[in-house]
Symmetry: D2
Subunit: 382 residues, 4 copies
């Protein structure tokens, strides 16, 4: 007889709540995990919308008081899918209640919050996870495998950029433009992904930020509640240069004002012996240059990472050549979370709070560097 | 109070059954249709596997006797997801029992079967649908809209090919390689999609097939049941040339032996005033050349058809730039089927049996042309 | 002391004359051939323009009577760069005068002319060459080498198309639209290149044309001399399907009305073990899929064929990664012609009249097939 | 009667000498300039090779003493195509002798040298030019035109990288790896192009370098003369972040160790209203995103800048769709130099010593920033 499914609660009901709910619903049919999920409770502030949300996505119940979740002895796993300023209080509360916590990225809006979360995780027996979902693109997993097998040799260059174009003056003053809620703008939202991916792929830590620049091009936006202009207090873009412990140089750029780019998360690694490049808008593909190929016929290979036999996670989905999309990275992550909670090995390592805290330190170093106009050693941060 | 969900049965439990089931499960949360689906019964031959399948994908019950479905007065919609030689008997039986039928493509393995199905549909009050799922890629829908708005002008060339590479000598003698089961090989499997897409995009019918060639490169394969070599009695590839009623030339090619191509369904239209190209392996993109652009700066545009505001079906999914995959074309189709059954307009036209019969006539004309070594007028077929 | 340079005459002074002249001027500095060229005479009908042309491109003299060239005992090599209907008379005259002949493609406007040229060449001790210049793209040469080394295995599919878009109704009634001058339209101009490349790359001959279609979309054009509308008597497009002697299927398409395509000569070969694709608009690149790569990491490789060390012809040009263009294919051809005339081996085989006649037979078979609506065996042509 | 051609001398006979000579030979037939060139003298150190070089590329004479050129009253224009440490002495000498000077980039190996050259130019009546040849790619010229016409609006991001992969440990200790000769490594060689292009395209100056990093990965190389290991004293890569006066952020990266990249000069501009991207390995193409397109159908356009009618410089070359290559950027530049010397307007602005000095100041600011670990205001440099 299969074990009773694991009862889960989700805090938050907006876009990320929708993406997470889909993953919670899909993991069963797709992966047939040892222990499945039971969608017990969704918590949010908009009581009126919650019942409809719960019905649509299959949650058994809902509450407008998220602390009820902490008091529910049945709940084992809590998904924190709220704005960044709420991550700390919610996560720490849940950890103290003995629940496993799966938190949206970035870990927190401030390094102080992130540190408190890391410390709470360290004191708890519960497990923590962060939604760095792009780690679970099969193409990214393949890239990491190639690096670990030495196929790239020593890494010399990391080149990462996340270009979007939805943040023009017509975009209203959402919580994402409020530093008190979001901590930062494109930086925490997009560079967080890039730094996590760069650390995940190289297996190395950043040692130094050489320089950085942050800009707010659109300084005022219309408040959707009041209709009046209010100040945008976050960056529209942040760029920074860094070095990894193995000596590789790295450049990072995140922006919401790169006209023409929808979701341009692109990361490339150049190693002594080979190179890889990943582009999120064509996320089933890994570009791979193998320096071991004969020079006459060497070239960047367009590897379609869609083989159920040869690429991780794909056997839960469709035959070779039948691509997956954005949402599958979330479902793949839930499958790995369930593996860990069942005492099994995940297909690819998951970021816990301690790991995500290292990413947060790099983000912080970049902000300091931009503010101070100087290089920052990571040893001096956090 | 919402209407009671529509009870559905599915015949078949293999790969297509899995893709269809996923769509049946997903349509509710994604589209919130006026009238949802109730997954009542799955029917198949492997009784042992059926219970597990039903549990995994959320069917209430199962049966090893598909005729039970016809006798179940509750069932309103039947999905026929079995090999091609069974489409006719199952569909006709279900239509005669007053059920709506949703049938896997190609409509049938032979033109005779297809005609019988078309005739049965004409005599029935029930509605029929065929799984030409690629019509419901947002990029394909955009292409059709551009054609209908006259942005391409008169169409002069259609260029369609569907290249796969899984049919080498090591692939066993599946039902797909048995003419009695499948009717044809790459032709019915892949050219069926191309002909449907070409007719859907141009809004025109084929008038003549100018020539064709069919080849079976791998003549013997190992029977997975007996382990012995058996004869492959279907084509590995079929190519043919045609004309559309508006004068456009068209070339079609389907093959399972195009080394390096996983799922290379590519279709391009050149019109007097513009051109479009679609590639299934990067299916969120439509390439569009607008002849109205100034010559200095005209060029093929890579249009990412992922905008919830601007592209059909996308508002059921994710924000702009967050791509969808193969499975979403099925869910989009179920959403349109449910719209039709609720008396609403589908976002894009659906193929019924009469429509799919026209595609089947073109496929038949190509086979005749290949066999006879002569051009075939469509007026003389079927 | 180096041998005295080889005296050459060129017949024709239009676009092709310009491209050829450039190659004649460039071959010396680029390749330092054993025996260089002396640009002795250019012949054309427009006496007024000839002096300026000769001065600009470095010809010593000019004549408005091309037969003078045949009578000039010094001239060793004659380039025939005139419209197709003149190829035969000029070439045969020059061969009979003992000159080597380098003729523009297609070999002739009609099969009869082509046969007479082949026969004249067979009777002569002089050497013949045809300007199938794309053979001498380094990327094409690499593709041929891979095929010959068995890296693709048996070829199963050839897919060739040449798409241009300059032949709209606004284009005047040039000689290219007059069947008496040109023989055919897109067919002789563009399919000639494709058939030559397909034969060159596979090393195989076409055995059968399965079907074909030719269309003239723009039936009337303005005569640039009279300003009146006249009839276009050539095809705007020709498509045909064929088989090669090794069993490969092949599809060919040539059109001047493919909106959005400037010079879309694309040819792809799929073999049992690998595939290659070449695109003229990005002609320094060969796409190569090596089926011997591990499935996990196999993919189409973008091979930049620009290495002086590893790719033929490149050491005459620039360092790796510094691309060459259209004109270099002509210069590379002249270098090989000079090698042959100096008794050396060309880097890649050159087409002579006998070879080009085989291409012409395939073109003729396609025209017959289009006209008769039936398959044509090559054994029955020419 | 046309004016007597302009007598030119070239100092240097290595790779750049070959590329320049080709341009000097080609400019006449291609552009038919008002006043053509006379290749009078080539000067170099290797007397033995000079005679052959002169013969091959059409120079009338040669000298092993470059100062003779200064003393030759006929010479009007001197091309300085020598290593960076010689640019100053040669250029200043020639300017003082009243010759126009065309100097290889970067202007000099050090800012001090560059300043002296700028000052000498300011004092002279002669004209100066620098070989920033990529300005004269038609695609780059189109990009600049679009920016100037306001099609991109205010520029927000510049993203420039120049990735090569020829500088591994097996590459010998050429002068390019000697700081005394070259001034810097990838920085002066590659970032010089990027900074010039960024300034040329935006029409703006850099105001601040925010941070930088320079690395020498390969610290020792074999001296080709002695066979012994010697120290490489230049950077293998330099990355830096900057701002332009209009507020745009900019990132620059130059490296000789980016495995898989041959000549990856890529520059992208994102503006409020549109974006452009150029890639040197496919240099006939400009990617253009026009924000004025309807959102439904907006996309990056692949503009093939090969139209003789619509793109600058192309009417000197081939019909639309027939691409040009690396060498044509040099010939296009010589055409513009000759226009200026004939009192005509160049098709696109040329960099003179004063202009190139501004690029040199940016390069210097980046080096200071890398060394000091701090931001550098351009106002404080040079």
């Amino acid at each position: 007889m299969p074990p009773a499914p694991l009862p889960l609660a989700m805090l938050g009901q907006a876009f990320m709540g929708r993406a997470h709910s889909n993953a919670f619903r899909q993991v069963g049919p797709a992966f047939a995990p040892t222990r499945g999920l039971r969608l017990k409770t969704v918590a949010g502030r908009d009581a009126k919308a919650l019942a409809a949300f719960a019905a649509r996505y299959g949650f058994e119940g809902w509450t407008a008081d998220w602390r009820e979740v902490a008091r529910d002895p049945e709940i084992e796993l809590v998904d924190v899918a709220t704005p960044n300023d709420l991550h700390r209080e919610m996560s720490v509360t849940m950890l103290e209640a003995g629940k496993h916590v799966l938190c949206e990225k970035p870990l927190a809006g401030t390094l102080e919050d992130a540190r408190a979360m890391r410390d709470a995780a360290a004191k708890s027996d519960a497990k923590t996870f962060v939604w760095f979902n792009y780690r679970r693109c099969p193409a990214i997993a393949l890239a990491r495998t190639l690096v670990r097998e030495g196929r790239l040799g020593a890494i010399r260059h990391v080149r990462a950029r996340y270009l979007q174009s939805w943040g023009g003056p017509e975009t209203p003053l959402l919580w994402r433009f409020d530093r008190d809620r979001a901590g930062s703008g494109a930086h925490g939202d997009l560079n967080a992904h890039l730094v996590d991916l760069a650390r995940f792929l190289t297996g190395e830590e950043v040692t130094r930020v050489h320089g950085a620049v942050a800009e707010t091009f659109v300084k005022q936006r219309k408040d959707p509640a009041t209709g009046k202009l209010g100040e945008s207090t976050v960056d529209d873009c942040v760029l920074f240069l860094a070095s990894f412990e193995g000596g590789a140089t790295a450049s990072f750029e995140a922006t919401r004002l790169a006209t023409g780019h929808h979701n341009g998360n692109v990361i490339e690694l150049n190693g002594e012996r080979g190179s890889v490049r990943f582009e999120l808008e064509d996320m089933n593909v890994l570009w791979f240059f193998d320096g071991a190929d004969a020079p006459r016929e060497a070239g960047w290979r367009r590897v379609l990472a869609t083989s159920p036999e040869h690429h991780p996670y794909v056997d839960a989905w469709w035959p070779d050549g039948h691509i997956i999309g954005y949402e599958h990275t979330f479902t793949n992550q839930v499958a790995d979370v369930l593996r860990v909670l069942a005492g099994e090995r995940p297909l690819q390592p998951l970021a816990d709070f301690a790991d995500a805290y290292e990413t947060q330190r790099v983000l912080e170093a970049a902000l300091i560097s931009a503010r101070e106009g100087c290089a920052v050693n990571l040893a001096d941060v956090g």
